[in-house]
């Protein structure tokens, strides 16, 4: 996926840390080097983006850009595993950076103490090889989607509600984008929603594996153009094909051939 991997080498310490995952078929040392050469942007590091960032750090991504505004609230702590109880009232980004660094000090981390907006999306996306969309508001998701399509960056779309979750891999120019799936700002969506951390983390882990496959080249992204929807009440998982819309305002063929 990225040519920078040829200039990257692994230290003995890194080989020791990542040895067991380098045994995975199709990954190996080459996959690990590609991951180390890569930068991922994670939009919000709450119940979903927190485990995304943590798993990317665990796997040895080279650089993480983590964007999350605001201060830790008590109600964050049932799911936001990068936040700690002693940080309530303090900026979330401080806890996020500290926890990630403690877990894997080899990962370079850029913390952004704000959420994704129309104003900052272009710059943040430009610095990343891949983007993980984990925000709880559609306006943030749509802003990120627009920039990923414009800059041709793959975006892993992850979301949840209650005991349900979904993941879709967006490859601009090849697959449906978020605006193909949701051509309008869905009415009735509220910032507050029922959530267990484990349901969010399930979407996070599924999404991270799509990203690792894309970045390392170990396998095709299985959810490119397909929405994986799961229901942890029934433990049903279903892949739903999502087609590009020719009239999509974001990725429609006329505007973005």
């Amino acid at each position: 996926m990225n040519n920078r991997a040829t200039a990257v080498s692994l230290s003995d310490e890194e080989r020791a840390v990542y040895e067991w995952q380098m045994w995975a078929r199709g990954f190996g040392e080459e996959g690990q080097k590609r991951l180390k050469a890569a930068t991922a942007l994670v939009s919000r590091c709450g119940g979903l983006g927190g485990p995304v960032a943590l798993e990317l750090a665990a796997a040895g991504i080279g650089r993480l850009i983590v964007a999350h505004g605001g201060a830790i609230q008590p109600s964050d702590l049932n799911r936001q595993i990068l936040m700690t109880a002693d940080g309530v009232g303090k900026p979330r980004i401080e806890s996020i950076i500290r926890r990630l660094h403690e877990f894997n000090p080899r990962v370079e981390i850029e913390g952004v103490a704000e959420n994704i907006t129309e104003a900052n999306a272009a710059e943040l996306v430009s610095k990343a090889d891949i983007v993980f969309d984990c925000a709880p508001l559609f306006r943030e998701r749509f802003a990120l989607n627009r920039e990923c399509v414009r800059q041709r960056r793959p975006m892993i779309e992850c979301a949840m509600f209650g005991l349900e979750g979904q993941v879709m891999t967006i490859l601009p120019g090849q697959t449906a984008c978020l605006a193909c799936l949701y051509p309008e700002d869905p009415p009735g969506w509220k910032r507050q929603f029922p959530v267990f951390g484990a349901v969010s983390a399930a979407a996070a882990c599924l999404g991270v594996m799509e990203g690792i496959k894309l970045l390392s080249g170990m396998a095709p992204a299985a959810l490119a153009g397909r929405l994986l929807y799961y229901d942890l009440a029934s433990m049903d998982f279903q892949k739903i094909p999502v087609s590009r819309r020719a009239d999509c305002e974001v990725c429609g063929r006329r505007e973005n051939p």
């Binding site: 559609f138 979301a159 799936l181 949701y182 009735g188 739903i240």
Partner: protein
């Protein structure tokens, strides 16, 4: 004729049930049948499912017997059809 309607996301939350059996009249469309159903729930249920003109919102994914259905060309209902309604979600 009876169809099974399965709710996901906020629709499940608002309906307080996973699914239900809906009796449909002969030649009744899915839209018409679900507009009747929506009347039994909080107004937010109908707002998520239908646009102001009464058509299905583009942000709702509809599966009929587990296959995605094109909202502009929904097939006639058949007895025993399983209709799944997936509204947009963005929880993180």
């Amino acid at each position: 004729m009876r169809i099974h309607v399965k709710y996901m996301g906020q629709l499940r939350h608002l309906a307080q049930r996973d699914e239900e059996v809906v009796e449909t009249a002969a030649n009744e469309t899915l839209e018409a049948a679900l507009r009747r159903v929506a009347g039994a729930y909080d107004a937010a249920f109908g707002q998520i499912l239908f646009d102001p003109t009464g058509g299905f919102r583009p942000s709702v994914t509809i599966l009929i017997n587990d296959a995605p259905a094109h909202k502009s060309a929904l097939p006639p209902l058949r007895d025993g059809d399983m209709v799944t309604l997936l509204p947009a979600i963005a929880g993180g």
